[in-house]
């Protein structure tokens, strides 16, 4: 696996984001990318100043509400100063938030790249297009990067923090611009969109056509062909944009924050992602470990106390008449001790995974497992402070 040589962790998220214009949070589903992205953006606006935007994909309803994102679709909105004041913070800069609406973005893209309004309308009304834009899974990744490109190019923001869509493989969206360009330049597309007669006459593709015809029926094949004929008119615009998006992702001003929890599957995904970033020349700025159990669970002397409590609960309870009925006290002490020892098993597993991962990124930060949900700006500040200064 290609990986940068092990280095001591140094630097902080603050230092990293002070020098970047784009930070992309990526990682497996369910690790808290959205929260980390929003918390990093909040901290940047608080302590670095400037105009900071968080582009989120699928925020929890309450968090979206807290950021003022209700029912606003993909419009960028400024997080109200009241929400920030309520959290007891006085930002130096502006905090903005936007959500990604894939369907809407696709429609905008078609309008932008279609040669004329009539073609745009025909594409938008095509059932195949509607199917693709709404369901085509990989389209989410591409559209997120497109939107990012647009926002960055607008020049309105000093820093854009992006939450990425949950993909089967976190790496997929990095390849999205390439794949989109390949898609448009493929020979098959040209063949499919050529006249039906030449398809049948072309010796190389005739067997394929016969099979496709037999499986799908020629009407469906014609529908596909017509759709792609229309879609192809957008090729020049698309290809150019895909190149520009790719360039932006590789730019020195862009960094990636790999987010994971310390569980086997997300860690594996994070490792894979870190090595893929390195192999493809992207900047892996930081590894963010989320929902980490508190370090005191690893304290051997606390574990000894817990073991003693568990083993000697009845005797201890007898010696503590002032606490309550001995039977109940004994029961409580044993529960408490066993709970500690249970969580310790998990904390040890986490520590081991953490040690395996830590060598792979320059900045490694941990966010503790908060016992309440993060659903407002003060929650974001709480998360943000945990990771900010290192």
């Amino acid at each position: 696996m290609a990986r940068a040589p092990a280095r001591r962790s140094s630097g902080s998220l603050e230092q990293l984001l002070a020098a970047k214009e784009i930070a992309i949070c990526c990682g497996a589903g369910g690790v808290g990318k959205t929260t980390v992205a929003a918390a990093a953006a909040t901290m940047a606006s608080l302590s670095l100043g400037g105009t900071v935007l968080v582009l989120t994909v699928d925020p929890a309803r309450r968090l979206a509400d807290a950021l003022g994102l209700e029912a606003l679709g993909n419009v960028e909105t400024r997080v109200s100063s009241e929400a920030l004041k309520k959290a007891g913070v006085e930002p130096r800069g502006d905090l903005w938030a936007a959500m990604l609406d894939t369907k809407q973005e696709w429609d905008d893209l078609v309008r932008r790249h279609a040669p004329d309004a009539r073609t745009a309308r025909r594409i938008l009304e095509n059932p195949l297009y509607q199917n693709i834009s709404a369901r085509f899974v990989q389209s989410h990744e591409y559209i997120a990067m497109e939107r990012l490109y647009d926002l960055h190019r607008s020049g309105r923001y000093d820093l854009i923090v992006v939450d990425t869509p949950p993909t089967r493989h976190a790496i997929d969206f990095l390849a999205a611009p390439d794949r989109m360009a390949d898609f448009f330049s493929s020979r098959l597309l040209r063949w499919l969109t050529g006249p039906a007669r030449s398809r049948m006459l072309n010796l190389a593709t005739r067997p394929f056509y016969q099979v496709a015809d037999r499986i799908l029926g020629s009407q469906f094949l014609e529908d596909i062909a017509e759709f792609f004929l229309l879609f192809q008119t957008m090729y020049p615009g698309f290809a150019e944009r895909a190149r520009a998006v790719k360039h932006l992702l590789h730019d020195r001003r862009t960094t990636f924050l790999v987010v994971t929890t310390l569980e086997a599957a997300p860690v594996r995904e994070a490792e894979f992602f870190l090595s893929a970033l390195a192999a493809q020349g992207f900047h892996a700025g930081a590894l963010v470990l989320n929902k980490v159990l508190p370090p005191y669970l690893l304290d051997p002397s606390a574990a000894e106390v817990a073991e003693r409590l568990a083993a000697e609960a009845p005797a201890l309870a007898d010696a503590l008449p002032e606490a309550g009925p001995p039977q109940a006290v004994s029961r409580v002490l044993r529960e408490v001790a066993e709970s500690f020892l249970n969580f310790q098993v998990v904390a040890k597993r986490e520590a081991e995974l953490r040690a395996e991962l830590a060598a792979s990124a320059e900045v490694v930060v941990s966010i503790p497992s908060f016992d309440t949900d993060i659903y407002d700006v003060s929650g974001l500040v709480q998360v943000g402070r945990a990771v900010w200064s290192g």
Partner: protein, 315 residues
């Protein structure tokens, strides 16, 4: 609570990423096999980690017996297409190579639902041919599973004639029969997984004919104390008493108490989400699986999870 879950023939196990859907799919498969059924467990994400839950090396498209009566496979749409062409359409081998192989990726991209229907079609085919008593699918995550399950209908609408059109008919019959097919949604008692579960139930009902068979609430933290014991715990945590306990226990108990407080509040936060879920799901059965304080995952935790599910199912 007796839920007629394992008497179905085809289960799609889905849920938000990170909720443990693979571990639940593995445990349901193991449980059914332990109870005497011939089971096929299929990984559709092609991450290939389902086999690890049975302590087995990665499996391919061809099923392999990884535990007694339990077979595992990993979905591969290209191989599924080859099989489909060979068995269903009886196409000669020559038509299946060359341009077709190269074109497959493109057509699968171009024609929405092709990849999905090859996945669902293969599973439905195994059910129709009765090769197994039960097929358990570690399906796509909640964001994508609706597209997968709706694919036969979508194709049925788009492709009006030809062999594919005839094929979708029997698939829809299998998928739409609640005695045969069911979706199992895996969630944890946390905000986003619960939200996604509630959304997913709505989408499955609106966009597909597939029945939601059960919801598995995974990683439920234990209730440490009864109400009166918790009051007692709060008293013990007061500095004066905690000092005495520390003295008798031969070391400071603060961290041990703090860990218990964390466990109590974590559970309490989650209880709210659980209530929200229970209000929203109506009569869909809920199965609870405790949080496993385990070293890792593997056959041992799969078996523990299977035991928990067995108890919940009233076996």
């Amino acid at each position: 609570m007796a839920v007629d879950l394992l008497s179905r023939r085809l289960l799609f196990v889905t849920g938000k990423g990170g909720t443990g859907k693979t571990s639940i799919a593995a445990a349901l498969s193991l449980l059914a096999a332990q109870r005497g059924a011939r089971v096929l467990a299929c990984d559709v994400d092609a991450k290939g980690d389902l086999a690890e839950f049975f302590e087995s090396a990665p499996v391919g498209f061809r099923p392999r017996e990884v535990q007694p009566r339990l077979f595992a496979m990993s979905m591969n749409t290209e191989e599924s297409l080859q099989e489909y062409l060979r068995i269903q359409l009886r196409l000669p081998a020559v038509a299946r190579v060359g341009p077709l192989a190269r074109a497959f990726d493109f057509v699968a991209t171009a024609a929405p639902g092709v990849r999905e229907i090859l996945t669902v079609g293969k599973l439905a085919y195994e059910v129709r041919e009765r090769h197994y008593d039960l097929v358990v699918t570690d399906a796509a995550a909640s964001g994508h599973v609706v597209g997968q399950l709706a694919a036969p209908q979508a194709i049925d609408d788009l492709v009006r004639v030809g062999p594919v059109h005839q094929q979708t008919g029997w698939m829809l019959e299998i998928l739409g029969d609640p005695a045969v097919t069911g979706v199992v949604i895996v969630t944890t008692p946390e905000e986003m997984p619960v939200n996604e579960t509630i959304d997913l139930i709505g989408r499955l009902r609106r966009e597909t004919e597939v029945d939601v068979a059960a919801i598995v609430v995974n990683r439920v933290l234990p209730e440490l104390f009864s109400h009166s014991d918790e009051e007692l715990f709060e008293r013990l945590r007061q500095p004066a008493l905690a000092g005495v306990v520390s003295e008798k226990a031969g070391g400071p108990v603060d961290d041990v108490f703090e860990a218990a407080r964390l466990a109590v509040t974590l559970r309490r936060t989650r209880a709210g989400h659980l209530e929200r879920l229970m209000d929203a799901v109506g009569d869909i059965p809920l199965l609870f699986v405790p949080y496993l304080f385990a070293r890792g995952h593997g056959l041992r935790t799969t078996a523990q999870t299977a035991d928990a599910l067995s108890a919940e199912l009233g076996y």
